[in-house]
Amino acid sequence: MVIQQDSNRQLIQQRLNLFRFPVLLIFFILAARLWQLQIINGAEYERRAEENRIRTMQLVAPRGTISDRNRIPLVENRPSFNMLLYREAMKDQDATVEFLTTRLGIDAETIEAQLRRSKSAGLYRPILIKEDADMEAIAIVEAHRRDHPEIQIGPEPRRLYHYGRLAAHLLGYVGEVSEQDLAANNFPGATPGTLVGRTGVERIYNQVLMGTDGERQVLVDSRGREVGIVEEIDSIIGGEVSLTIDLDLQSVAEAALQDRVGAIVAMDPRNGEILVMASSPSFDPNAFSARISSDTWNALISDPDHPMQNRTIQNSYPPGSIFKLIMAETGLGEGLLDGDPQVYCSGASVYYGRTFHCHDKKGHGSLRLEQAIAKSCNIFFYELGKKLGISAIAEHAQALGLGTRTGIDLPGERSGIMPSPEWKMQTRRGKWYAGETISVSIGQGAVSTTPLQLLRAISAIVTGGRLVTPHVLLWAEKKTELEWPVVTVPVSEDSARRIREGMRLSTVSGTSRNAAVPGVEICGKTGTVQVIGNEKKAMARGKTGDHSWFVGFAQKDNPEIAVAVFVEHGGTGGVAAAPLAREIFRTYYDKQKPAILTRNRLSDTAGVPSLQGSND
């Protein structure tokens, strides 16, 4: 085959050789032109490149507004100015450093360290010398524009939390995006230096809140002075997020907590909208809107009261007597309270060889379920717990969401613990003792819940089984799909009604009297959690006071607001927790009366009225 084509092939070889010349010519021309541009005229082009300076300045987009359920803004932005150093315009580093240290009081070491660190970052990226510069510093820089064109002022909007510490845990704060977050693309659209939400709503709804940065290109001369604007792309502000929080109720709750360590959370039990989420002590997220100083940060982190923790969802505590409501639901559901049995309380009872006391040493006498709830009688629920057994209790409590996260749209939620024999075997490698069931019956022992979890479980009981998904988002720009699933738990209407009656009785004549508001059918239940046994109290140092709980709702037959109050080491629940809830209920119902209550800002909210003694 090859031989047959021989003559043709030779012709092709000849023609192939003809291609050599044009190819070499092309390369010669391209190379000659390079010689002309780079060698012959190189100096001229270098001069033109020097004159040719466009400086690109980032126009940082403001983050979106966060507002309450009535669209009153809680978080917006304020203008601020950064001091930037453009190294390519710096003629004499020593002169620049001297100017910065003598006139602007910036540490020479810091600047030189920054200059060293930024060597590899590319000459045309400005260095941030001072964040959120004050007016005096800006005036000095502006006055020396001609001598020091390398130092420039760049605007950057900063987060402004109008109400400071109010709802700080819920709102969260912002910070510069970390390299890990960038690498994992946790915040699509963020570039190095972008401020992103670190916790709370700022983090969860960061993609809505984050805007799109713009850019301004200015033409500068060889000395770095601005000559004109080439192009300007405006930044686009982030989307608005409206929360389910009610600012008035939130203010009242924060004021009620005062200096106490604790939490208040209020929710619409019908749909899971969070009306109040207060945790104390709190912090000021404004401190984070510039890059936070390490002193402030260390103070926040090392504070023994952990002000950064959102106690409504990030801490879990034994529910104490509030758990009796879950016991009541379990007893009713399992048919053990059919026929309305009475239990006699003598003040103490013996189970499995150990004496368990009621908080009322004199005893409550004969009690039915409603009275037992109202008086918070331990003996009644010890008896009930003994009959039910731990498995039935755990099953009902877990169905009501104990031991699992509520699924609220906030980061860092804890799941709490609802113990059962299986749980004990898995985590502690031990057998379940019958005596533990007795402790669990009054919410002591290993049971632990977050205030929100407990509020959600009790809400589910009193609404006849509506286990809602608590949430703080009412609506958000650019976000259309909002689903907050409601699970139906088998709680019979009769169980719900009887527990509501018991809780009503508690505010009328029982332990929750301090939560009562005239004219409103408030129902409640108090709880007091023994932190440490009485006999050890004397020996122990530090905080040993009982934790205080209150969980309640209104109105009795139409639950529309449910409130949980928790005070760490507050003492008796009826004294320390119930009055705080009363303030929430009062404000909620006052607001429904036309034009009575104007907005409470932090400063003018009335303090909590004097507390009355009460039994738990």
């Binding site: 391209l30 032109r33 082009y45």
Partner: protein, 364 residues
Amino acid sequence: MIKLDQRLIFGFDWLWFLALLALSAAGVVVIWSTTDATSLNSYFGRQIIYLCCGLLVFLILLNFDYHLFSDFISIIYLAGIAVLGLVLVIGRSIHANKSWIDIGLFSFQPSELVKIIAVIALAKYYAEYDRDYLGLRELMVGGLIVFFPAFMVVLQGDLGTAVTFFPIYATLSCLAGIKRKHIAVLLIVVAAAAPITWFTLRGYQRGRIETVFNPERDPHRLGYQTIQSEIAIGSGRIVGKGFKQGSQGNLGFLPARHTDFVFSVLSEEKGFVGSISILGLFLFIAYRLFRTAREAKDKLGTMIVVGVAALLLFHVLINVGMAEGLLPIAGIPLPFVSAGGSSLISYYAAMSLCMGIRMRRYVN
């Protein structure tokens, strides 16, 4: 996988392969240098992935005899046409062009691959014709084979890419033998088509051509890019401004600095030393292709290598010529150097094809 003949392995041309790697590495470095500080951040990482894909394709295709492709060329060709048609329907628009197709995670520009298919198709058609000169009929059928896909690319709005089909046809026709009178006929056709083309060009395309003859005509719009590119190259002088130090590239004077104007950025940062080295590498590859064409086992092999060489050198000419201000601005990538996967992977495929032809030159 097909077991390789000993002679195949000895035929592997390491210097040629290293030249390809050197060009790709230069591209990766320039992309790193110009896109690190901007939001184009991920171009660098993606280019490395594309390079790995390209090398993989190169090694896989090496195992197949080129006759396998030419035997099934009609099917491959029709598939290529079908994909181009698909792009017309569902293609993704980048700037004014509608020539990209989304394949799951990344988008691909099929026209890059279709060029190589067109080379094989035309090479096979001409190789099977064993007279000394092509007849008019062969010239016309050959033209149809090349210009039908080119026309579809024009429909996508990508004139620059469509133009690159022309050297395939011109070079292979010359190689297969073209009579003087036929050259005259073709020239008349081109001469007649030129004014028509001129008036069907879009405004910006016409402006780009006019600008070549007088870049200062409109220094702030069309001439702007040409002048900035010349300043970039010129100001690099002998050794360049250094990695990441190019002001023209990094301050946004050059549009598409990681793709179309990658040569300008390279020349600015690496100087004459760098830019002439890039040209040298291309010249070396051209030499290896030329040698392979001469030594190829059969006419088909020679034709394929010459077609690929024409394609490659045309790209280099247009891209570098544009950067140096000698030719109109066209969105044509510099082979192996510019950012982008379609071009890189397609060129590695084409080089693999040619290397395979070289390796099989004694094998029957």
